[in-house]
Structures are given as C-alpha cells and as structure tokens.
Symmetry: C2
DNA sequence: TAGATTGTTAATCGATTAACAATC
DNA sequence: TAGATTGTTAATCGATTAACAATC
C-alpha cells in the first residue's frame, strides 16, 4: 500500500484552499460546490476536484463539500492539527519580527526559542522569549522537542548553522538566508525557502516588462 | 514585432541564475558553460539554455557564456540596472524589519518612505526614515517617484490600502498581507505575494508527510 | 425519481528534457 | 581543421482542463 506522491503544484495550492475555507467558515457557509469555490478563487472547478481527490473523496455527489469538514481535513493534511515547536536562529530585525508575529502561533507554529551569535543580544527578550547563545542550542532542542528551525541570518553563516541544526536532530528548516541549503544537507531534511530578494526581483521583472510593453504600443 | 510572453516558471528561475552568476563573478570565474552551471545549480543544462534563449543568445558556440556579460544582461532583464523607489505601508515589526534590511538597497530597491495608521508611530524613525501618516501618502508618492509599495499590514486593512495606492499611481505591490489583492485590483497592477504563513504550512505538510512515510516503513 | 455535483478518465496544453545541426 | 558548446527543433513528461459516468 504505497501512498502516491503528491505534486508540488498541488501542495502549493493547499494553503490557499485552507484559507478560503476558513473564511467561508467564518461567514457561516455550511457547504460549497467546486463550482462556487472555483468562482471565488478564480481557478477551475476541475482543478479543485482533482486537487482534493489526491487526498481522498471529501465531497458528496449532488451536494458538494461540507465546509467545516473539508477545512478540517485540509488542516490535517497540512499538519495544522498539532503544535510545532519552532526556534529562530538569528535574532536580527527579521528574526525578531517573526518572533513577534502572533498569527503563526494561531496555526500551531510556536516559537519557543531565539538564538544568536552576538553576545550583546544575550538575555534580551522578545515577546517574553530570551535570546540565547548558540552553545545552548543542542540541549535546548532536545529538551523542548523542537521540530522546525527558522534561519534568519546572513548567508555566510547559514550553511554551517544548518549543518549544526541537522546534527542536533532538526529535520525541517524555514530558510530566509539567500543560499540553497538543500544542496548541502542530507536529502531527508526538509527545507522551505523564503527568498525575499528573489520575490522582489520578480516584481521588478514584471514591472519592467510591463512598462516596456506599454512603451511599444 | 510582438515580444513573446515569458512563462512564469522561467521568470521564477531568473533570480537564481542571477545569484549564481554573481557568485561566480565574485570568485573570478570568467566564463561558464551550461553544462558546468547545470552541475552547480542541479538543473539540466537544457533548461538553462532554453531559459536564457527566451531573452536572446547570450552565449557563444564552443565557448559558453561570459559570466560578467550574462550576469549583467539578466540584471537588466530583472530591472536591476536602475533604482526603484519603494514605500512600506505598515510600520509594524515586519515593516520595520524590511526597512532595516540594507541588502535590498544593494539590488536597487530603495525604501524612501514608511507609513502607518497608528498615530503613536508618527515621527518615529527607522534607519533615518520617519514614519508618516497615511494622509501624507498621495503627495509623497508624486514627489518621490515611488514605484513599489510594500504592504505589511493586517489583511483587514490591506485591500482598501491597496486601492488607495493604486488610485495614487502605484503600479506594483509587494504584498505580505494574507489576502489575494490581484482579485480586487485592476489587472494591470502587478502584485507579488509573500505569504509567509502559507510557506510555513508547506513546510509543515512536507514534515508531516515525511514522518508518516517513515512510520509506515 | 430528477437534479446536482462529485470522482475519475480522457484530451489538451505547457513545460522539461533530449538530440543534433549550426557555428564559434 | 577539430573540439566544444550553443541555439533550436523534436520527443517526452507532467499538469491542467474537459467530459461524463457514478451516485447522492
């Protein structure tokens, strides 16, 4: 009984389904058809049904989907039915900003620790969480059942830090450093990149090519 | 003479090429073949050549690509050959963190203004940039040739804010609010989303499904 | 039962990879 | 000239959309 591998494209869309279903739930909508949802989300109904059926039949012919149930099931698929303990490595501007973000906690991502190499930051607290030095890391990971490590530090330090984290049992890295960690870590370590500057470059590309197109007309 | 539309998949890869070429340049590498680059980047040489040829022939048969030239050309394609003035709407943790990020400026994205609705923040400065109130926005955009607006505010305020920005001539929005702005703005407004919580959910999905796979073995 | 809508198969579309002629 | 490597066409692969039988 081998579970089919789900394509990246589908996984990428799941959080958006989850969000729309959450909003429908808030609005008190009980059921929804793929057709209605398709209109709201501006994707094809076919895609919605195909995507969902990767994970099983959540709907009912002639009825559609129960919003509460589908929301809950997608939540489970995404692993949002339990708490994930998270640490942040690099307590600079971005690291502190993420630590202050309360909305992650509502989805079950709990920041339990903050680390930095800069001794000046030692003991400074962010939302009640003290900034610790890296030498406390191994013990802290074990004692606090840390699952996810967020890397918000310069690319020059990111690789060695990631290797240290993996050595200490971390299996999932949320990487904000501008480097391809996956190329130097074991393949079973999960890396999710947030490369802000690349996002900004795509915006800039679209802006530039749009302006050029306008000029030519 | 109609310019071919470049697929999103290609555009998504461009910043990564740019980054690798920048690193090669720093390392003093003068030329590189698609084969060598393919090995470093772990993509096929075929894809590299196809991607680049969307924009023209940058290489030379028998030689490969000149690193400096290719880096520069991709930079131009991405619009990195000029400065883009940027404002940040929402001077909370994330907004201030982005304002403090000096590395964007090095790629030509210059934060020239910070705005918030909270009067308590009025006049507070971040990296020398004073936080302004929203009523100053229209004038500021005109006087400072602002191209890009970064939205780092709660989703509840994001839509009305985006509409106000567009009314005042903004054509590009870097959106950190968890809402699909593109569905309510004119189609010619460029929106680039950074949905951090969705990124975290994908990480969580991969972690969860990986652990389940391991359990079954 | 009739109508609606899913789950799923088949058709289409697009993106990636392979192959090779062109050419430096 | 011979070797290397691009640019580009053709083949393959995967993802999206359309269609419809199954069924609530």
């Amino acid at each position: 009984m081998c579970k089919k591998v789900i394509s990246k494209a589908v996984i990428k869309r799941l959080p958006r389904y989850y969000r729309y279903l959450g909003e429908l739930l808030e609005d008190g909508v009980e059921r929804i058809s793929s057709g209605e949802l398709s209109e709201r989300m501006k994707v094809t109904a076919s895609q919605i049904r195909q995507d969902l059926n990767n994970f099983g039949g959540f709907g009912q012919q002639g009825y559609g989907y129960n919003v509460r149930y589908l929301h809950q099931e997608i939540g489970k698929i995404l692993g949002l039915d339990r708490v994930h303990n998270m640490i942040i490595i690099g307590a600079g501007n971005l690291g502190q900003a993420l630590a202050n973000y309360t909305s992650f906690e509502r989805s079950g991502f709990k920041t339990v620790g903050l680390f930095d190499v800069n001794p000046v930051l030692k003991g400074v607290t962010v939302r009640g969480i003290p900034i610790r030095m890296i030498d406390e890391l191994p013990e802290f990971i074990k004692e606090n059942q840390v699952e996810i490590a967020t890397l918000t530090l310069p690319k020059s330090r990111a690789t060695e830090m990631a290797e240290l984290l993996v050595q200490n049992g971390i299996r999932a890295i949320w990487n904000f450093a501008l480097t391809d960690l996956n190329l130097c870590l074991p393949k079973d370590v999960i890396v999710e990149n947030v490369h802000l500057s690349e996002s900004l470059m795509r915006l800039s590309y679209n802006l530039t090519s749009y302006e050029e197109a306008k000029k030519k007309k």
